[in-house]
């Protein structure tokens, strides 16, 4: 079980800020494929991962990173702070 978090328009498209996901995905990309296969709203949110960023346990990471040992995955658009 991992916590999956969504922010900004990713959160809006998927329709929730956070959920627990039962998965055996090996990488972030595998998790994205699993989620996209669930429902149209996930497929829409993840349709272009080049427009997305991912953090694993609150550190920026990559879509090909392994998920072993990870407890929290977050998906969001490029940041616009400052």
């Amino acid at each position: 079980m991992i916590d999956v978090l969504y922010f900004a328009w990713v959160r809006e498209r998927i329709g929730l800020p956070k959920e627990k996901v039962e998965t055996s995905a090996a990488t972030v990309a595998d998790l994205v494929a699993e989620l996209s296969a669930r429902e149209e709203r996930y497929a829409l949110a993840f349709s272009d991962t080049s427009a997305l960023r991912v953090a694993l346990d609150q550190d920026l990471s990559d879509f090909d990173a392994p998920l072993a040992g990870v407890r929290e995955v977050a998906f969001f658009p490029p940041m616009t702070g400052g």
Partner: protein, 148 residues
């Protein structure tokens, strides 16, 4: 070092005065304040979303990196989230250093990294609707000057 992520307004003058006070060995103090800008006069407010936990962690990492790169006396970062009206201060950064070049470089470095590496997202709410602010290529490009 002080890192603050909060919803309420902060007092630029009071923060600047507190940061600057008692610096006998620091000749240079630089502050940057970001303000909600309304170019067109149509902005009702800005909504700033963030990732609690990661935000503090990311800002601390950026500030630590600045302290390894330059000879700094201290670093302050304040960043707000929630609903902000036009003209409201969004965030501020302050640095102090024995010499001005270090204080300026560190403040610009902090701003460049906060823009694209701290998990905040801005949504502009105007009378015509709401839209997420898109990241600018220029902001990503700004990071290249600190590399290599």
């Amino acid at each position: 070092m002080r890192i603050v992520v909060q919803e309420p307004a902060f007092d630029i003058g009071a923060e600047t005065a507190a940061f600057a006070s008692g610096r006998h060995d620091m000749g240079a103090i630089v502050t940057f304040t970001g303000v909600v800008r309304d170019d067109t006069g149509t902005l009702d407010h800005l909504e700033i979303e963030h990732y609690p936990g990661m935000t503090e962690r990311a800002i601390t990492a950026i500030a630590d990196e600045a302290r390894t790169r330059w000879s700094l006396g201290d670093v302050l970062v304040i960043h707000r989230h929630g609903c902000l009206a036009p003209g409201a201060p969004i965030m501020m950064v302050a640095t102090c250093a024995p010499h001005r070049a270090d204080a300026f470089a560190a403040a610009e470095f902090l701003m460049d990294y906060l823009k694209s590496r701290a998990p905040f997202w801005k949504k502009e709410v105007t009378r015509d609707g709401a839209a997420w602010v898109a990241a600018k290529d220029a902001d990503e490009d700004a990071l290249t000057r600190w590399k290599g």
